[in-house]
């Protein structure tokens, strides 16, 4: 996005200089919580349990997409979900992988069996190698492109993936609320510029033609991936290509239901902090003004104004 000049175009329009910095995922969250960066892309779950739970008031300005099969539970020997209790499961604990797994069990009325599952916390850089080379391991939960890599192994099948819980694992673009509310208005101009650039990019990505391939190749290269692999990931990602679609998601009741599930999950696993007594202490505010939790402890806000402006062509 920076290379193509789109970001510069929009930055100039609103008189802000935007610098893009490539991070690995976990360090980017750390930097955002430490207030070293102003905006960051992350999942809805991490937005709640990292910055929001650390008292960094955070606003989601863009809902980018949701995982529609990107995250999956993979098994050997064709075992089913019901046979997993008592076995060992490789995953990165306390991330969307664990959320996905627990949802899978809950949707299949196996929630009571969760206690008998032994999680092995495995670093995402080694999880594919570990699962593929150690054939005594039977279950792994991870995300793409690792999922595709593991599925190429012999006798490995997918028993559950995020397409069965559509809209629950969201990718957001979040901005620190204090940045957004800077008195000189530069924060809002920043958010508008980013939203403008974002949907320009989406338009290019979604319109079939040579330009599309060029854009997708650029993205794939930037994330050290191949075009085929990236396209394959896109096929299991529900992108909100238009601002209108994202805006509809932001206004929907489904978002509230999702966040309710997510915050209960985070609270149950201590992700909101050991001292947080109730999930209500890290409250979430939705575009219509409704709040989950205590109104004086709002830490995560969904703000649809920028998506709405983009949808109405008002940027």
């Amino acid at each position: 996005m920076a290379k193509s000049g789109i970001l510069k175009k929009w930055g100039d329009k609103y008189g802000v200089a935007i610098k893009v910095q490539r991070f690995d995922y976990a360090p980017s969250l750390d930097a955002f919580v430490a207030k070293n960066i102003d905006a960051c892309a992350m999942t809805n779950m991490e937005a709640l349990d990292m910055p929001a739970a650390s008292g960094v008031d955070t606003t989601a300005v863009i809902i980018g997409d949701y995982s529609n099969g990107n995250d999956a539970v993979l098994v050997r020997h064709n075992i089913g979900l019901a046979q997993i209790p008592g076995k060992r499961v490789l995953l990165v604990e306390k991330t969307v992988s664990q959320y996905l797994f627990e949802r899978a069990m809950a949707l299949n009325n196996l929630a009571g069996e969760l206690k008998r599952v032994k999680f092995v916390n495995t670093s995402d850089s080694d999880i594919a190698g570990a699962f593929l080379s150690d054939t005594s391991q039977e279950v792994v939960v991870t995300w793409k492109p690792l999922v595709s890599q593991i599925l190429r192994g012999k006798g490995i099948t997918s028993v559950f993936d995020s397409s069965k819980i559509p809209g629950e694992i969201l990718d957001l673009l979040v901005v620190r609320t204090e940045v957004l509310n800077r008195p000189d208005g530069s924060g809002q101009r920043f958010a508008k510029a980013v939203a403008g650039a974002w949907y320009d990019m989406m338009a290019q990505m979604s319109k079939p033609g040579p330009q599309q391939d060029k854009v997708l190749t650029g993205i794939a290269e930037a994330s050290q991936d191949s075009l085929t692999s990236y396209k394959e990931q896109l096929s299991t990602t529900h992108m909100f290509y238009t601002a209108q679609a994202a805006y509809d998601m932001g206004k929907s009741d489904q978002l509230k239901k999702t966040m309710e599930l997510v915050r209960q999950f985070c609270f149950a696993h201590g992700l909101l902090g050991e001292k947080t007594k109730s999930p209500d202490d890290v409250a979430i505010r939705f575009p219509d003004g409704s709040i989950q939790g205590k109104s004086d402890r709002v830490r995560l806000r969904f703000d649809a104004t920028y998506m709405q402006a983009a949808a109405g062509g008002k940027l």
Partner: protein, 285 residues
């Protein structure tokens, strides 16, 4: 002014003060910044205050890990039983077991080095290979380790052994070669056989130095152990740190790191004392 001269002779009080100065500076600047951050954001988790860390440590030592199904009636248990079922104790036990196991596996390495140094054919057989192996970065071979040893306990211990053993072997080898030839010849003229010379003359002499070299490698052992636990595990001190990082649980991480430092210091101290007790004749050159 003799303050910065080689011949300067600081008195006891000055030495004591100087040696603690950096600690005081570090600790106070930490709390100064931490207090600042907390004034700005009372929920800050990046730099916990001392109360938060004490609380975090107390929770770690008195409460079981959340995923354990220990009897929920923790309140009625005795203090000792509570510590025994606590998260910290469980992690320390797991890490400690791996640590001791891998330290024990380093003793055969010493013996190998000794024999390589004493018996030319054994030396010829192993030396080049060990020299080569010593330069291999064990962490980069992880996928192969997973195939050979699975991803459980064995893999973690083997990672340490592969990482540290070559250094120990080579060290023992060099120390063996460093024993004066005259002593070995003398041993033979007094009627000792190959093995009495090896074990009763050479091994006895290199032992204190070998212990020292193991002591210096403690940190390497710990680094490999931590790497192993962070890659894939279900318990252990590094496992807990990796998990807590996921939600910025610095209030527990910092005490954990200090706890590990303390344990390492104690092991180091123990080995030094043992060395002095076992080999009172040994003086570091």
């Amino acid at each position: 002014m003799s303050l910065l001269r080689i011949h300067a002779q600081p008195n006891r009080a000055t030495v004591w003060m100087l040696s603690w100065l950096l600690f005081a500076a570090g600790v106070s600047s930490y709390f100064w910044v931490s207090r600042d951050r907390h004034r700005d954001n009372p929920d800050d988790r990046v730099m916990p205050t001392i109360q938060q860390m004490v609380q975090g440590f107390a929770d770690a030592t008195l409460k079981p890990a959340e995923d354990d199904e220990v009897a929920a009636a923790a309140g009625q248990q005795s203090l000792f039983a509570r510590i025994q079922s606590s998260m910290l104790w469980k992690d320390t036990k797991a890490t400690g077991r791996r640590f001791l196991l891998s330290m024990a596996l380093l003793f055969p390495a010493v013996m190998l080095g000794l024999h390589m140094g004493m018996f030319p054919h054994i030396g010829a057989f192993f030396l080049r290979f060990v020299l080569f192996f010593d330069k291999i970065v064990a962490l980069s071979l992880l996928p192969i380790l997973f195939i050979a040893f699975g991803i459980d306990e064995l893999a973690k211990v083997m990672l340490i052994v592969i990482g540290v053993a070559p250094t120990i072997i080579l060290d023992a080898f060099n120390l063996t070669r460093g024993v004066p030839r005259e002593q070995i010849v003398k041993g033979f003229t007094l009627g000792a056989g190959d093995f009495s010379v090896t074990y009763r003359i050479v091994l006895k002499q290199i032992w204190p130095r070998v212990l020292n070299s193991m002591r210096l490698n403690l940190k390497a052992v710990m680094l490999f152990l931590f790497a192993g636990e962070m890659i894939a595990s279900t318990d252990g001190l590094a496992y807990r740190i990796a998990l807590l990082r996921r939600h910025m649980g610095m209030d527990t991480i910092i005490p954990y790191v200090l706890w590990v430092a303390l344990l390492l210091f104690l092991v180091d101290f123990g080995m030094r004392t043992l060395n002095r007790k076992l080999h009172p004749w040994f003086q570091e050159a």
